[in-house]
């Protein structure tokens, strides 16, 4: 009895103690109220908001200076070290540690070119292509002696002759249509026009069909006088202008052709060039429409009238009386492309602001620095933005700011050849990138017009919408968001999570249904430096820019003069882009809880699934075999689970905000520890979600591309294909493989969903 009484006494003493302890530690409302004195807490913590302050810093004058610097001479990949040094020095001058990181890819440079139309029998030359862009008075960039001649990066050397055939845009469908029309491209020189798909795929398609060489010309219907006034009277492509560019097969793998999957360091093992699957083997050259016109005229009356194949084969030279015919021509074309391949040092510049609270998490913003010519819009408008961001971050740091997380600013080299600088760097740092990087923001050609556009992992949409709502569209009362929404009325997206409504057209909503519309944020394909981050490392990425306003892409006329005359005279678009990018980066780097949204991902996933189903249905209908497949049930089920668990994350965020406060500054060590644990867990989930969509096996046939949900289309190149493995199985009519991949990717989505649940 007594022992029990004793225990009772002891325990009562403890109970009393515990009660007192509880009273002092768990009177949460009172303590929290005491800690958060007054009403100011409701309005924010009284500290200066770095995002608000940041918005005032980007200067149109400085942006002009930056652009003037970068466009002051040519800066081709591997031949722009001075600009790399300038960029590094500029970062350092802002208080940002920076260094130059070199790689050694296999690149090529032009030696000689010729395109001529001649009589095979008499050898009489009917036409010799000028292959030269006219000098324009008042635009020194057009007369720069260092301007590259007609040249396509990573094109094969060759001196070939053959009859000419016109193949429209040179897509897979175009070559099929040509074949169906009874026109063979074997041993021919194929003339295609720019547009639709990656350059390299046009060459590849021609090569597959046995052609000897390819000429890619710019038709005035696509970016010339059919669109608007041509340079120097306007921003569209004049008749002597040709579009340089890479013909590597990015959609197979980007980066150095000889070191797929590993970095092109000095001593890295290299493929033999003939084994490099991203290279084409037949020579190719770009042409202006001045030089293409005589070639097209030489086709008239030969083969089929292109309009019989389809009206979409007819270009804009009809206004000059040119008819489009397939050929083959009677005359022959000599295509000489003499290039020199060599291992070339290239320079990335990497700047770093180490985070003050979570230095182990990093946000990267990148732009490529190399250009085919002066590159005012592509890429130097983005280079100017990157420099101005560096200056703005420097200004904030002078005022005491340090971002919570690490910010890395990257100036890539050799993007134009094949996303080389970024790809080699990602391959070189794949482990810590997978471990540490929260997101990658890409600003390639920041200003090529005035229409805002973006593609991204859906998890970044909300942040992008919020940022664009805080920046004014130049010269108006609208925000960038408003203008973006208004300008994209034609392709509004309603991100609905529910897959089960058959009324809608998938992503294209029933206008009678009152829904919340947001501007379109396309899935990421390939085409700029986000590719290795998103598709290889599984880092959530965002690509953005103002476009739609010029046609002189990759030519001598993409100059400072053109930019300041027709595109952005006051540099307010540059300034707006700097503001949007900076806000996105500051939020990613500074918000206590990352504003990445798995629910948005889940909703977009529904859209991707519907898009896939539509495509698959198209292939199935076209197939003589296979039952009509309307729905991909496994994927739908996986998406539902994903959405459910995405809601769990959102609830956790809500709980964190309301119970604790995102800053985790409250009474009670245990409560604070719990708050931080919860916050870390949320941040881990949302920043590493994208990793879970990486399939280590990659897309069949293109194993470098590992993202299961999106990737560059096999036959598109730039544009994204959703669920590439499944879509390509359907396209190839491989139904068993389709089912296997459907199952596999559904499992991937389930695993991602379970990962979210662990919050």
């Amino acid at each position: 009895m007594n022992i029990w009484r004793g225990i009772a006494i002891g325990l009562s003493a403890m109970a009393l103690f515990l009660t007192l302890y509880a009273a002092t530690h768990l009177s949460v409302p009172l303590c929290m109220h005491d800690m958060r004195s007054g009403t100011a807490r409701d309005q924010g913590d009284g500290r200066i908001d770095p995002g608000q302050l940041f918005l005032r810093i980007p200067s149109t004058d400085r942006l002009r200076e930056h652009l003037q610097y970068y466009t002051s001479g040519t800066h081709v990949a591997g031949i722009n070290r001075t600009q790399a040094v300038h960029t590094r020095d500029y970062f350092e001058a802002q208080g940002i540690e920076a260094k130059i990181v070199e790689y050694y890819p296999w690149l090529n440079y032009p030696v000689d070119q010729r395109v001529a139309l001649f009589n095979e029998s008499t050898h009489a030359v009917e036409f010799e292509a000028g292959l030269k862009e006219d000098a324009i008075a008042g635009d020194s960039a057009s007369e720069d002696p260092n301007n590259l001649p007609a040249f396509l990066g990573l094109s094969a050397s060759g001196n070939v002759t053959g009859q000419l055939v016109y193949a429209n845009y040179g897509t897979l469908d175009d070559f099929r249509a040509l074949k169906a029309a009874g026109v063979s491209i074997k041993d021919k020189v194929v003339l295609v026009r720019y547009g639709g798909i990656l350059r390299g795929l046009k060459v590849h398609g021609a090569e597959r069909g046995g052609a000897r060489g390819v000429l890619i010309y710019s038709d005035p219907a696509d970016d010339g006088y059919c669109i608007g006034k041509v340079y120097p009277s306007g921003p569209w492509r004049p008749e002597s202008s040709f579009q340089r560019g890479s013909v590597s097969l990015i959609q197979v793998y980007p980066g150095d052709p000889l070191t797929p999957g590993h970095p092109a360091t000095k001593d890295a093992p290299r493929l033999d060039p003939k084994d490099a699957k991203s290279l084409n083997h037949i020579p190719s050259l770009p042409l202006s429409y001045r030089d293409a016109e005589p070639l097209l005229r030489a086709l008239v009356g030969h083969g089929k009238n292109a309009s019989e194949i389809s009206e979409s084969w007819v270009g804009g030279l009809t206004s000059r009386g040119v008819e489009y015919w397939t050929g083959p021509s009677a005359l022959s074309v000599n295509l000489l492309n003499h290039v020199e391949f060599k291992t070339t040092p290239i320079q990335n510049v990497i700047g770093r602001i180490t985070g003050s609270e979570e230095p182990g998490r990093a946000i990267i913003i990148g732009n490529h620095r190399d250009a085919w010519c002066a590159g005012a819009s592509d890429p130097s408008s983005g280079s100017a933005v990157l420099l101005e961001l560096a200056r703005a971050f420097g200004e904030l740091m002078k005022l005491g700011w340090r971002p919570r997380r690490t910010i890395i600013l990257a100036s890539w080299d050799a993007e134009e050849y094949s996303l080389v600088g970024s790809t080699e760097w990602v391959e070189d740092n794949i482990d810590w990138i997978r471990a540490d990087v929260v997101a990658y923001v890409n600003v390639d050609a920041a200003v090529m017009g005035s229409e805002f556009g973006a593609s991204a992992s859906p998890i970044l949409k909300d942040l992008l919408f919020a940022a664009t709502k805080k920046v004014a569209f130049p010269g108006s009362n609208e925000t960038i968001y408003d203008a973006w929404l208004r300008q994209s009325q034609g392709d509004l997206v309603s991100d609905r999570a529910d897959l089960d409504n058959e009324d809608d057209n998938g992503s294209f909503p029933d206008p009678n249904r009152a829904e919340h519309h947001t501007p379109p944020v396309r899935p990421l394909g390939a085409g700029s430096d986000y590719t290795p981050f998103m598709s290889h490392a599984g880092v959530s990425s965002l690509n953005l820019g103002f476009g739609g306003g010029l046609g002189t892409y990759h030519s001598n006329y993409d100059s400072f003069k053109q930019m300041t005359t027709f595109v952005d005279p006051n540099f307010e678009l540059h300034q707006a882009m700097t503001r949007v990018c900076g806000l996105v980066v500051i939020h990613l780097a500074d918000d206590a809880v990352l504003k990445l949204s798995p629910i948005s991902y889940a909703k977009s996933l529904a859209g991707y699934i519907r898009e896939l189903e539509r495509q698959v249905a198209g292939y199935t209908a076209a197939s003589l075999n296979g039952t009509a497949m309307k729905r991909l049930h496994r994927l739908r089920a996986a998406q539902r689970q994903f959405l459910t668990n995405a809601h769990l994350v959102e609830q956790s965020k809500h709980r964190l905000r309301t119970v604790y406060g995102e800053d985790c500054q409250m009474a009670g060590r245990r409560r604070r520890m719990n708050c931080r644990k919860l916050r870390k867990s949320i941040n881990d989930r949302v920043s590493r979600l994208e990793r879970h969509f990486i399939d280590p096996e990659g897309i069949p046939g293109r194993e470098w591309y590992k993202h299961a949900l999106v990737g560059p289309g096999r036959w598109l190149g730039y544009d994204a294909q959703v669920f590439p493995a499944i879509a390509e199985a359907a396209e190839d009519h491989k139904w068993k493989m389709l089912r296997q991949y459907e199952k596999r990717i559904a499992e991937i989505i389930y695993e991602a969903a379970w990962f979210l649940r662990e919050v």
Copy 2:
């Protein structure tokens, strides 16, 4: 046995619990390290520093606009409501709540004036004073029809006639010297020159001696052509210019003459004007040296040649062949001053930014808005600074900032008459001011030259030095601090705490001794709106401005034109003053631990005691009675205790910084509570220290003045007298009273020391 075993079990359970509790709550080093992740903590907390950001905001263009506004017309006390409304509206537009607060003091306005020299017998007028400042082409302020005529605020009406006597500066010593020279001022009209002491004391001295009226003229030696070029060729006083100003006896009490010690609200009980001790009773007028010259000439040969009394009696008109004689003149002077007294509504504007963490502690910054004429330097340069501070705080608030403590911006009315707006407001709010106000910063004439000067409670010195070290002196590589130090080489102060070294000259150090010199920060007397705060409420105060650069004070020529031509053409001095004031206010409002220094107070106190001892020794030597008194031992002992306890406060600050961190953000609720308690205790000590120097009984004969350590000199008016009660007892040879006050004030110092000890 069992019960004990039971208790043992129960208590062991509790001990175990306690051990676990201790382990989780008291493992301070580990937790603190976890909480403060990374090295950034050592460099600051990664937040934007509002002080650093603030420095970039004040704009010379905006300051110019503000000054242009305020000087666009006259704005005399009680006749400037429009400017009050503008000021209130401007504050509101910056997001600062503001209101107009009215009081109803007894003021007067000019009706008629005359000064004439005439022959009493023949009534022939020999000279009629113009009493008008010349219009200057190109300076519209000089021709403003609203400009006040020759007038002295609160002067008595009167129409008197008498012989003229010249009494140098009209100090007590000057009147004594005149008497000693056998010249009586009884029934005379006394001519004195500006300088040395308060205007009102000159009139008072003359009145005490039986004079009928007083003329106060501006001698060219004091602020006219003997100093430099006169307006419009330079910034010094031209011959037609006269200095308006108040002749109330501020050193008796400031504010509304009829309501000493309580606010002049509509229904407040009022004295009969004849009982108002701050009013003089004989008429007085200001004169230019153009008008004074004939009067001085009329004295030549009469009475004594002033240079026989002292060379210091001879002014600058000697360059025009004028000799200075005492008179009395043969001719008579008619002085007519017709003024109208009335109860006049005046408008203070009070703006308020409520603090986010400690709204119950307030920092006040004030400037007076009323001027005698256009008032470009006095006070509108300060009004411009106040508005620009409001704008800068508004800008910071737009970026999310809220100061920790409340900031009040005050635009006072009727300062020129007798510090009326501020005095009435302090009397009206004395209780919460004593409870809540941390410090008062006064910026009257912010820019009257380019020499920085300040007077303050010593507790504010360190903060002022730190702020001036962060602001550049315009057009140089120096800081304000450097320039201030350099410009004041003649009166460097070495603030040594040890009183026992007889080598030094008190405040004037032995140049052979290597010591730390700082610029002089004089003790506060009376003369601007800090007076009610420091001397009546016991709030630590600071008065600052750039001076020494113009001589047209209180005249039509203190205009926008003069300011922009000779004093601050680029508004960079205005900008520098805005920066210094703003930094001081931001630190007072935002630092977690107030940077007020009791040790600096203790050191200055040593200096005050030495100064008092010197003065007392002077009186004792002059006295036929009394032993030579070298040291005031009680005061010295009290100062030593005060210094010791000031060190305790400094140690507590040090402990707070190193053990906890000023932000009190660490693990452990108990530790955090302790940290906050310590911090609050430190802040309470330093912000309320000044209160302990208030003696409720006040200075004998001037009981409104209650600060025991400093106050306006009884016969000086503006300048400070240290230990006024003691010094005046010595001056009056009241040795017993001197000992009583020494004892009393020593006790006050001991109590202040004990108060510090309570930290």
